[in-house]
Symmetry: C2
Subunit: 374 residues, 2 copies
């Protein structure tokens, strides 16, 4: 595993300082901030810039959460490209989100608007523009990050040459919407949630814990869980039959994941970004996925993950076919994996082997890295 990279530069960019950011839902978000992290230095024409978009729980520090994929000598090679991460609008890692102060100085909380994936992408575009970057070479992401990559290709066809969307389709299935919205309902039910205005009290940790457990289940495949946990008792020694709350190993794992999560994610961020993911829909947003495909100019690569049940590969394949039928220059690849949705994070070598030929054009035009690395 390559060692973790320090960013070359990290900056908080104020976007739309005049008039604010007009959102898909009709609201205006005044003076939003985007936290932008650079690994490497962008060329003036942006031709060495690869934007990596994050999933539900990521940050702008893309080399931290995507080790083995982003880094020195990796698939997305920080020695040869300028890799950029931006904390999504609505996030809790530096960009404007529900915990940020509104005009009255108090956190937005329940007043934070509904966001769409298009809103996230427009904010990213504005942030890059403010930094002098009008075009980028590529946008690459998995899950919600993959939806953002697709939205970049449709919304800013002239601004990007290569779109790579991994474990992401044109819309969540109703099963996935069902799980995601039930996870959100569990947060809303937490008495600490207070409709979203909990910043002066305890956070809704119990609800967020449930949401995370459900998330983790959708990120893993049945087979992975069978292999990793089987029906073993909790590794801390509990026998599951010892009491109503005594656990199997898989329960201990989920509880542990929930526990970590509530310390690092703001519940409102989870709600806002989950909702954006549920809403993303090429058919709803553009009339049809084919129409969306007709707008795309970038080379577009969709990657289905064999054992993914959050974004079933059949759905990713269908999105590819429809974008292509609409006229997009699109390719479909399938990542053979037993891991489930999370394979794009958990199996960097396999993903890198699969995608290396697709990213080769990025490197062909780079003679050498010309950015100074910290």
């Amino acid at each position: 595993m390559p060692e973790e990279l320090a960013p070359t530069r990290e900056v908080d960019v104020r976007i739309a300082p005049n008039g604010g950011l007009a959102l898909d839902g009709g609201e205006i978000l005044p003076a939003a901030v985007q936290r932008v992290t650079f690994y490497g230095t962008p060329r003036g024409d942006g031709s060495n810039v690869v934007l990596v978009t994050h999933a539900l729980t990521g940050s702008s520090r893309v080399a931290e959460w995507w080790p083995g994929v982003v880094g020195r000598g990796c698939l997305i090679d920080t020695d040869r490209l300028c890799v950029v991460g931006i904390n999504a609008l609505g996030g809790c890692y530096g960009s404007t989100g529900p915990a940020s102060p509104a005009a009255d100085g108090r956190p937005y909380g329940s007043r934070f608007p509904v966001l769409t994936v298009r809103d996230l992408v427009r904010a990213q575009r504005l942030a890059l523009r403010a930094l002098g970057i009008e075009r980028i070479a590529a946008v690459i992401g998995g899950s919600l990050g993959g939806m953002q990559a697709l939205a970049w290709g449709v919304e800013s066809p002239e601004a990007v040459d290569l779109v790579v969307a991994i474990g992401a389709s044109g819309a969540l299935t109703p099963l996935s919407v069902g799980v995601s919205s039930t996870a959100r309902a569990a947060i809303a039910n937490d008495p600490n949630f207070k409709g979203g205005d909990y910043y002066d009290g305890e956070p809704p940790a119990a609800g967020l814990d449930i949401a995370r457990r459900l998330g983790m289940l959708t990120y893993k495949s049945e087979r992975l869980l069978l292999e990793r946990f089987g029906r073993r008792s909790d590794r801390k020694g509990e026998e599951p039959q010892a009491g109503l709350w005594a656990r199997f190993d898989v329960e201990g794992y989920l509880a542990h994941q929930g526990e970590i999560f509530v310390r690092r994610i703001d519940a409102n961020t989870h709600l806002v970004l989950s909702k954006a993911m549920e809403l993303f829909d090429l058919d709803r947003d553009y009339g049809s996925a084919e129409t969306a495909g007709a707008r795309m100019l970038a080379r577009t690569v969709l990657v289905g993950i064999g054992s993914d049940w959050l974004f079933p590969p059949t759905q990713v394949h269908q999105t590819w076919r429809r974008l292509r039928d609409g006229g997009a220059d699109a390719a479909y690849l399938e990542m053979a994996s037993d891991h489930g949705h999370d394979a794009f994070l958990a199996e960097p070598e396999s993903l890198s082997r699969l995608l290396a030929p697709m990213l080769a054009p990025l490197y062909a035009r780079e003679r050498r890295a010309d950015g100074a690395l910290a």
Copy 2:
């Protein structure tokens, strides 16, 4: 759809009046009640008796919750057989459960013991015995009811001739344990739950609602949800992008299911029976599924449901193979369905066509129904 049948007889049987019922967990449950419903009249030798075991949310009124399968002229024909239903121990439809008074006259609540599927089945056996029925012709059930049917075959091999388990395997997968235990955790997190001792206050309805939504998602297939709801807006007119809590149609459906559920199920019953389902494990309980199979004498039929992800047909098939390898006279059938786990309830005609040949021996030895129907 055949019209609903009135039971011939319904009786609350006190079992283990002396000494109480010894449970797998080591506790003794004093003087438990079993609510038993008859459709038809049992012959003295029990040779016309078919016990129908219920799933998580069922009752002894089997013709009510399994229309089209149990009834006049149906697969399980109340005109020709004596059909018996028993509310499971731990239930909330007449049998002793967490809401029942303990020795001190107050509801058990948190004091109710952990139950296993074997405990449920032993209680049923004792109830039938108390009614003079030592042997039965068949035991048939789906889901948790199918686990009970299998446990009948292993625990009381001499007492039953035919075991039919539908959408049930030798143990839940860790994915299913994960979803089920997360649903339980959502109940426990409800501030009204009070550790299970909520009977003098409001019930933990919000937690039970989340549990039911998750349950419903595991009972339906991805394809069914796609066909039935797609990505349509809530049928009451909400547009999902209108707000964080505005809904897709699938969310409205889940919320509606949750709402109905909290009025008809006691949360503690849901916890106790879910836990029994999570614990059931032929390997843990008998050393191996093969050893369990070696104990079985009844003709045993396992039915996998094609699109079931709570009890994947691959798991049901594996249980069948292992029981058979152990020596059981077992058959495997697969119900082709896009519906998901609930197909055994939702597609009675299809299930009946599949199982009719397996139930034919029951009818061959019945010349005519000899019970009086109410």
